[in-house]
Structures are given as structure tokens and as C-alpha cells.
Amino acid sequence: MWTWFYKLASPPYVYRVAAALMPWFLGLALLTIGYGLIGGLVWAPADYQQGDAFRIIYVHVPSAWMSEFVYTTMAVAGAIALIWRIKMGHAVAAASAPIGASMTLLALVTGSMWGKPMWGTYWAWDPRLTSELILLFLYVGVMSLRSAFEDPARGDRAAALLSIVGAVNVPIIHYSVVWWNSLHQAATVAKLGKPSIAGSMLWPLLSMFLGFMLFYGAVLCLRLQGEVLNRERQSVWVREAIKS
């Protein structure tokens, strides 16, 4: 029953699967992101209060979600690698870190651009913005720590531990708008029950969420292949994989 789990621990399997899945992920990602952008920028009506500025939501919210999701994935993969000593977990974590950091940067920049017309300021030190900025620092810390070790295996383990410790920040980001009086808007989509947003605005947004997730899958597959090759350079199967 657990054979699929053990297969995931096998580097040649991971390499083959990543190479095979990548084009599918990328193609579907481009389609869904394309629909999301057209639907969001052209078809959706302007917001009653915010006018056309609300259209930034179509890149801001998916990237913010991805920044949290990718960090959680990185921490979980690191934990699996530390606990069960599955080296492919470290490969997934190492591959995910730059992707997540870029998503965090995107969320911060687009949020800042949205804040200027909406709140009158490019930045505010409110809980959600502050904790998202801390998330960016955490990503940079994890990547720096991994590369600071001469022994890559030790660097992987240290980075995994740090990402687990920093995972405390993710629920803080997510619930900061609930726990504190925050300038930032509360949840409109992920509430249980009816989301408080119009359908014609909602579908492109959901499509962007899906598109960003698929895009993460595609880029992860690309980076994962490289990470696997780097860690398994000395293995026999690599010879055949390179030739093809």
C-alpha cells in the first residue's frame, strides 16, 4: 500500500516523473492563467468601491497564497527528509525555496502598488504586511543557510530545521487579519459558506489560484530535476539520464 510513498524516495523515479509531468503542468498553467487574466482584466466588471484598481487582486492574492503554500511545502518536505531520512525531501525543499521567495516578493510589491490608491500609502506596518515581509526574510535565511555549508548534506539538514522553526510564521500571516484590527482586508474567498464576492469576479480569481499552483508544479519539476542530478551525480542511473 505504501509502495507509492517509497517510490517517491527513489531519485531516478522522481527525475523521470518530474521530466514527464513538467510540460503538462506548464501547459495547463498557461491556459488557466491566460483565462484568469483575460477574465479578470477584461470581462469582470469594475468594483463598486475600488474601480478598476481591484484588478490587482488577480495577481496579488494568488501570489500571497503561493508564498504561504510553498513555504509550508518546503517545511513539510524538510521535516519528512529529517525524520525519515528521505533525501528527495531535501531536493523538493531546495527546489521550492527560490520559487516561494519570488512569490513573496511579488505579493509584497503588488500589495504595495494596490495599497497606494486604496489606503493612500505604499506601506503600513500592520500585522499581515509585517509578517509577509518576515516570510521573505525567512526564505532568504533558509537559502543562505543551505548554501553556507561546505557539506551539502549538512546544509540540507540545517536548512530543513530552520524552515520548520520559521513555519510558526505562516499561521500568523494567515490569521493576522482575524486576530488583530488590521488595515489589510479580511478573507473574502476562503470563508466557509458563500464567498462575499461576485461570480464574474470570482471565477477568474479561482482560475488564477489554480494557474499559479500548476505553475509552481511546473517550475518545481524543472528545479527538482536539477536538484536530483546535483545530489546523485555519482550514481549509475545518471549516465543514462544525461545521454537521453
Binding site: 529529517l82 518576515i134 532568504v140 543557510l145 553556507a148 549538512r154 540545517a158 530552520l162 520548520i164 510564521n169
Partner: protein, 226 residues
């Protein structure tokens, strides 16, 4: 001779404290840094005393944070360099006990010292005496938490080139909630309102960190030592 856990803890604590006091100049460095940094702000901003009061809680806390960072490097480094750390880890007492003892000793000579010195700095920053109790309590809770965060960071960065910079890069993002709530508590005390809310947060962070950080710091040391 079989040594019980409590005895081993006290032995290591005694060792750490004796070693620290053998070089008193090393102990004074973070405190002097604390004093210098806090005087830099009013000098650089050339504010009147009344305006200084507005920024002083933040200045105090930022300076305390940075001074604590300075001393974190010494937590494990010298013992790791001469092999004592490995000997201790093989001693059969359990690495966690050793880590707890070392971190407690570290806090006593750095964090606690910072709390004791803080009234002097507070006077320089025009913080009213009525706010001292809250300020010192917030600093005490904050520095304990910081010692533990620093233990995790120090454990991960022993022996790395530019380990100091990396240590700060790791610890500071994790320490920002401390800064926010500590400065908020002090600021409320300065303005006369109740600081109970931020103090509770600080206490919660302290308890949370004291519970989980020993495990993380031990794991970090195992990664570095093996």
C-alpha cells in the same frame, strides 16, 4: 560516579558562569554596546527631551536586540572549537540538558545583565521612572526568548564562514514579534496606559519558545556535530 540530571545541570551552569567571569571584559562588551547604541539615537536625531520620549521605547528595544545578538556567537563556538562540545554530548547526560544549562548561563550573563543596566539607559532616553517596572519585565521576558532563538541559530551556524552575519539573518526575523510587543509594552507604560496586553503576548512567546526551542537547538547541534 553517577551524576543525576539536576547535579549535571548545576555543574554545567557553574562551569559556564566561571568561564564567563574569568574574562569580565567579554561580559561587558554587549552592555557597553547597548549603552553606546542607545546614546547614538538621541545624538544623531538631536531631539528635545520631550520628543525623545516618543521614540525611546523603540530605541531601547532595538538596541537590546542588537546587543543580545552580539553575544550569541559565544554560546557554542569556543566549546565547539576545542572539542568540549563533542565530549559533553558523549557524556551520557543528554544533549538537551547541556543545551538548557548553557542557554540559562548565557541568559544570566547577557540578558539578565541587560535588564539590570536598562534603568541607566532609560534615564538617558527620558523614560519616566514609573515605566521602569514594565520595561524591565518586558526586557526580561524578551531576552529569555531571544537567548533561546539565539541558541537555535548558534547551533545551526557553528563553524560557518561569516557565521555571525548568518546568525543575525536567521534570528532577527524570528525575533521581530518580540520587538513589536516589547516596544509596545514599554510605550504603553511610558504613556501611562495598561501594558498588560503586550506583556501577556511576550509571556506567551517566552513560554512557547522555552518549551520548544530546547528541542530545536538540540537538533541543530546534532546536525552540526555529527
Amino acid at each position: 560516579m553517577q551524576v543525576g540530571a539536576r547535579q549535571a545541570f548545576l555543574l554545567i551552569l557553574h562551569r559556564e558562569l566561571s568561564l564567563s567571569f574569568r574574562r569580565p571584559e567579554q561580559l561587558l562588551q554587549p552592555l557597553v554596546f547597548f549603552l553606546i547604541v542607545t546614546t547614538l539615537f538621541p545624538l544623531g536625531l538631536s531631539l528635545q527631551l520631550s520628543l525623545l520620549r516618543d521614540i525611546s521605547p523603540g530605541v531601547l528595544w532595538t538596541a537590546a536586540l542588537l546587543s543580545s545578538l552580539l553575544s550569541l556567537d559565544s554560546l557554542f563556538k569556543s566549546d565547539a572549537d576545542d572539542g568540549t562540545l563533542e565530549q559533553l554530548s558523549l557524556s551520557g547526560q543528554g544533549l538537551t540538558l547541556i543545551v538548557v544549562a548553557k542557554t540559562c548561563a548565557h541568559w544570566l550573563v547577557t540578558g539578565a545583565a541587560l535588564v539590570v543596566v536598562s534603568p541607566i539607559v532609560a534615564i538617558a532616553l527620558a523614560i519616566p521612572v514609573a515605566a521602569f517596572a514594565t520595561m524591565m519585565l518586558s526586557l526580561a521576558l524578551g531576552t529569555i526568548t531571544l537567548s533561546w532563538l539565539g541558541a537555535i541559530g548558534a547551533g545551526l551556524t557553528i563553524g560557518l564562514r561569516r557565521g555571525n552575519v548568518l546568525l543575525s539573518l536567521i534570528v532577527l526575523p524570528l525575533a521581530t514579534p518580540l520587538l513589536i510587543f516589547g516596544a509596545a509594552a514599554t510605550e504603553r507604560a511610558v504613556s501611562g496606559t495598561s501594558a498588560v496586553g503586550p506583556l501577556y503576548f511576550l509571556a506567551a512567546l517566552c513560554v512557547f519558545t522555552c518549551t520548544l526551542a530546547p528541542l530545536a537547538a538540540t537538533a541543530a547541534l546534532r546536525i552540526t556535530l555529527e
